[in-house]
Symmetry: C2
Subunit: 293 residues, 2 copies
């Protein structure tokens, strides 16, 4: 099942036979105090910097979130989306829990967006799915509901099934629903990752839909987060995860591209070897430049 | 199911509820020309160096192999085992395809060794299992037979079952059989890793025995092998692999210890955090030493 997203001129396909889709997590003021202050003051320059840097580091798509307390989120999200679309030409994941912000965001987006997100709560499904359908977008469905985040993988599968079914009722194909099986931090619950991996396998086997995780959550509060994230991603990919909202730090991107190769989504390592040669060439020209000074 | 190995004074347990068992791969002349030349000339100093370095880098056990063409392998393996046991106090994996060498090795080994290896070939089973039983050792069983390495995971499971059953006939418990589900290079076959992962899952579910892989094989012939190996190990561990004969390069060891934490085998990250603090302390005292010069 393929989920097709588009920017102004580029198409990205999320699918189990595709290379993994890396969605840069950084354009999000949550937990970034100075970025939040800049945005509050109308300074969007960091959006441009972060958009370019993440795409250069290997992001296939970008997540854009404007969630700052007491700010006009619909207006800010529109400005941030306009800025990001000027800076780079990759599809965007429009990220808000406020329906008016999603609506405002979709109205300025050029292409086919991924709406982040709906949950399995009846009210949210009824609010957000018609909006997604009207804009011909795709949507991330979080496997939680009014009662919170299910502890078992089986219950997350059940909520995923409910979301896919509700989307169908609104004319949204299963291929355009990307389920988030939810990754909690392993520092708070030693079973967190095994439950997430089991949920991924179940959803893959039973529903066959694409999946997306906020992958950095697993390492929250622990030292050497990039190393932990870089070990989590191969596990999740082998279980069936097809995309993640994640850090584009080199260890994380390299772990994903290595896993693409290992799982047969980079035949004969063509992409892996090309990336290696590009790094070697860059290092060589860097050395020449230093020598020429 | 726990496989218990011993050196002179230390015990290592391989098991699905244990931290992963890292078996250092380095004391092996295959593909190491100058090491092979040293050994041929009776110089065992590299054995000592490699034994200490691998244990310092995080190896829980060491593999020792003396396979050099036209050399008296039983005698050389004995010397190498004596040298390794003098240098470090960790259990050893006695690695040879020559039965006389395994026998000679076991006769000088102090503790409970892991014999590497038997295959599912009738003749090998009949030769090696009595030796393993007589010495009260544990044994690695490779899931291949007279016809070669099976292409399917199901056939590898079948051969694993045959080895466990034959071991039982010789009085060797299933807990003392460690199955190697075989990792081939992904550079030669894009399905190599997915087949291995499937074999691991099947053997874990159907037989519940411990497993060990030569993990570095997957990246043979490709650039950035440590990054590929460091992505492969988390996948294999999540599927049920409990030990590997592998490189102790930092990316590989860190990927294993990160995966232990993620999979709930390092509760609350106690070991992960302790290792992080030890590195910080080492870095700080290094800086002090530099400053004091």
């Amino acid at each position: 099942m393929d989920t097709v997203l588009r920017s102004r001129s580029r198409t990205v396909t999320i699918g189990s036979e595709q290379p993994f889709c890396i969605i840069g997590e950084r354009i999000n003021p949550t937990g970034r105090k100075s970025f939040a202050e800049q945005l509050r003051g109308g300074d969007l320059s960091t959006v441009t910097v972060d958009a370019v840097a993440q795409v250069e580091a290997g992001a296939d798509m970008l997540d854009v979130n404007a969630g700052i307390p007491l700010v006009d989120e619909p207006e800010l999200l529109q400005s941030m989306l306009r800025t990001a679309q000027e800076a780079v030409d990759v599809p965007i994941c429009i990220d808000s829990s406020v329906i008016e912000a999603l609506e405002a965001g979709l109205s300025v987006y050029e292409g086919r967006a991924l709406v982040n997100s709906v949950t399995a709560e009846d009210e949210r499904l009824e609010e957000i799915l018609p909006l997604v359908a009207r804009h011909g977008a795709a949507v991330i469905g979080l496997a939680n509901d009014e009662t919170g985040i299910p502890e078992t993988a089986e219950k997350r599968l059940e909520l995923a099934r409910k979301i896919v079914s509700a989307a169908g009722d609104h004319g949204i194909a299963a291929a355009d629903v990307v389920i988030d099986p939810l990754a909690m931090t392993v520092g708070a619950d030693t079973e967190a990752v095994t439950t997430t991996l089991k949920a991924i396998r179940l959803i893959r086997e039973e529903l066959g839909v694409n999946m997306c995780l906020g992958a950095s959550n697993v390492s929250f509060g622990l030292p050497q987060r990039h190393v932990l994230n870089a070990a989590f991603l191969p596990m999740a990919m082998a279980a069936g995860l097809t995309s993640a909202i994640m850090s584009t730090a080199p260890p994380c991107v390299e772990a994903v591209r290595a896993s693409d190769l290992l799982l047969g989504h980079d035949p004969w390592g063509a992409r892996w070897i090309a990336a290696h040669r590009a790094r070697q060439a860059a290092a060589a020209s860097e050395q020449e430049a230093v020598a020429a000074r």
